[in-house]
Amino acid sequence: MAQIRIENVRKDFGAFNAVSSSTFTIEDGEFFMLLGPSGCGKTTTLRMMAGLELPTSGEIYIDGKEVGMKPASQRDIAFVFQMFALYPHMNVGKNISYPLLSQGMPKPAVRKKVAEVAEILGISDILKKPVGGLSGGDRQRVALGRAIVRDPKAFFMDEPLGALDAEFREHMSEELRGLHDRMNATTVYVTHDQLEAMQMGDKIVVMNHGVIEQFGVPQEIYDWPASKFVAKFIGSPPMNFLEFDGAVDINADSVTLGESKFKIPQMLEGAKGQLSVGVRPEHVHFNDESKYRGTVTAIEYLGTTQIITLSTFNGDIKARISSSRAVSLKENVGLDFDHRTLTVFENERGKALLSRANQGVLNGG
């Protein structure tokens, strides 16, 4: 198992820039998520780490060795493809043993190892079957088997659950995470599903348009997004933005929205022009005494909680509140925000402004 370091990696396809200057480190044994919308360069980044794509510039270190220009076969890594890519002309056992045969391992040792892996994944009974008739879950297990059989330095997975149906996905993601915890293998996992990333990942990199937006543990990214893009991409419903035209100064600890003054974490960075205050739906509270008002325009019932859409002076926002509070359409309610959780964004660049609350996360990452 190994640490993986990406330094200033860039990839161009002709005139199109797929990944621009990425730098991050994946620690040994980490379950690492590459998250972003489709076309953001996350798969390209993964394929460069795996050696299926060569970087235009920059360095990739696996286990301390620079491998950027080495072919995939010399990197000692395993790759799980979205469509599994099981060799259709071989049965399950042959598929799993295939990586071992390339190393010239003797036949009896191969058989033993395959049996071991099949045991771990619970597919011992289907080793002789052709891969054609397998269910999605079993295909997934065979693909994992082919990956773990070789004890590679790292596992790379490109949306491995994307081809499964929703119900089975949950089960498989637990299985995957369990497998990782048992083997303690460095795993890099590409997904566009923010929920999957938050559930499974030790660390997340959020990418957009080939640029890394933020890097960190899931909770830090959720609580203290570095940009409006991350704030919108992560969380469902996403973070609310209360847009306003004005200024915040260094050391400011409040903003004025409409006629109300809201406390914010003390700012370490000032800005003026188009700004917005970001607040997660669960941090929007109803408070009848508040002068800041909103009108209910939609109610989504979700069991224990409900999502209330409100029209305010600074645009539409969503609040996640307990279902026990009765809410009716067109109701006018007073609103309050949990001031410790607020982030101020500067709209032009879409970046979060540094405050005492988020400086640990934003400077650390």
Partner: protein
């Protein structure tokens, strides 16, 4: 009305369809059967009028095909005594003796060497080229592919004279190498196009999986792509072989002895002073066999090759 029915056709419909198919098969098979039958007729039966459907089979045609014979005087025949073998006996009926083997076998093996040789080269080169076109960034890919296709837009015989002149300059006239080269060149465009389509259908992930599993690109191509493209390659091979095997016009023009293939040779069997149709038919029958066997062996692939593109996996 829809062109497709989701229901099982009625037994009457099946009966009609079956009859039509059988009828069509009989009509197309009839000339073939006639040739095979003629091969077993005696020369007089073969030109009898009205044509004989029922006849006494004889191997005369085959004996005449494989041997050269000379007429012998009664004295010589007397001296030779009783014929030693069954084929001697057949020849003696006409007061002839076998003077040696004919050239048919030679020509037949020329066909085998040139037909299978050119098919082999067309398939090997075609597969490699198709793989490159399918997987790599080839500059001007579409133009090159179109150029390759364009070589098939005229009948090969249209360039027979230039080829003849070139071959004469290069000393390739009437050589095996020349004919293999020519048929390979003609078949290559078909091979590239057909196999290109088949390889395009194979997801690239299979190879990438093999690459990360520790195989080189050539190993991945050889062990993962080839087995999966085998169907397509086999059907392409049949098409190439059928062309090279049956080609007549260029063979007539460019071969005369050493490298002459069976198609231009068979008509020369007719001979002088009497047309030996049974021998011609026997030659044609034997000539048909290799392609027939090859096609039957690979028929599953051939079917898939013909319907290629029509059905998505």
């Amino acid at each position: 009305m829809s062109n497709f029915s989701a229901t099982e056709p009625s037994s009457r419909q099946k009966w009609v369809a079956g009859t039509l198919v059988i009828l069509y098969a009989v009509i197309t098979m009839l000339p073939l059967l006639w040739i095979i039958a003629t091969g077993f007729k005696s020369p007089s039966d073969s030109i009898a009028y009205p044509p004989k459907v029922m006849f006494e089979p004889t191997l005369e045609g085959y004996v005449n095909l494989f041997t050269t014979r000379t007429r012998a005087t009664p004295e010589i025949l007397e001296k030779l005594g009783e014929p030693a073998t069954w084929y001697d006996r057949i020849v003696r009926q006409y007061n002839m003796v076998i003077s040696g083997p004919s050239r048919y076998l030679e020509r037949f093996f020329n066909s085998v060497i040139i037909g299978f040789g050119s098919t082999f080269f067309a398939i090997v080169l075609g597969t490699l080229a198709a793989y490159a076109f399918s997987r790599f960034k080839v500059p001007l890919k579409d133009d090159l592919l179109f150029f390759i296709l364009s070589t098939r837009m005229m009948p090969p015989i249209a360039v027979a004279i230039p080829i003849f002149l070139m071959f004469r300059q290069l000393g390739l006239n009437d050589t095996h190498a020349g004919m293999i080269l020519l048929y390979t060149a003609i078949n290559l465009s078909l091979a590239v196009w057909l196999i290109h389509g088949f390889i395009d259908e194979i997801p690239i992930e299979y190879e990438e999986a093999a690459l990360v599993d520790g195989y080189t690109r050539f190993q991945a191509f050889y062990k993962v792509v080839l087995p999966q493209a085998s169907t397509g390659i086999a059907s392409t091979a049949i098409f190439c072989l059928i062309f090279a095997w049956n080609e007549y016009a260029l063979a007539v023009l460019l071969t005369s002895g050493t490298a002459q293939t069976a198609p231009p040779f068979i008509p020369t069997i007719i001979g002088v002073g009497g047309q030996d149709w049974p021998a011609v038919a026997a030659g044609a029958t034997i000539f048909l066999m290799p392609v027939m066997i090859f096609t039957v062996l690979l028929r599953k692939h051939l079917l898939r090759g013909i319907t290629f593109g029509a059905v998505r996996k």
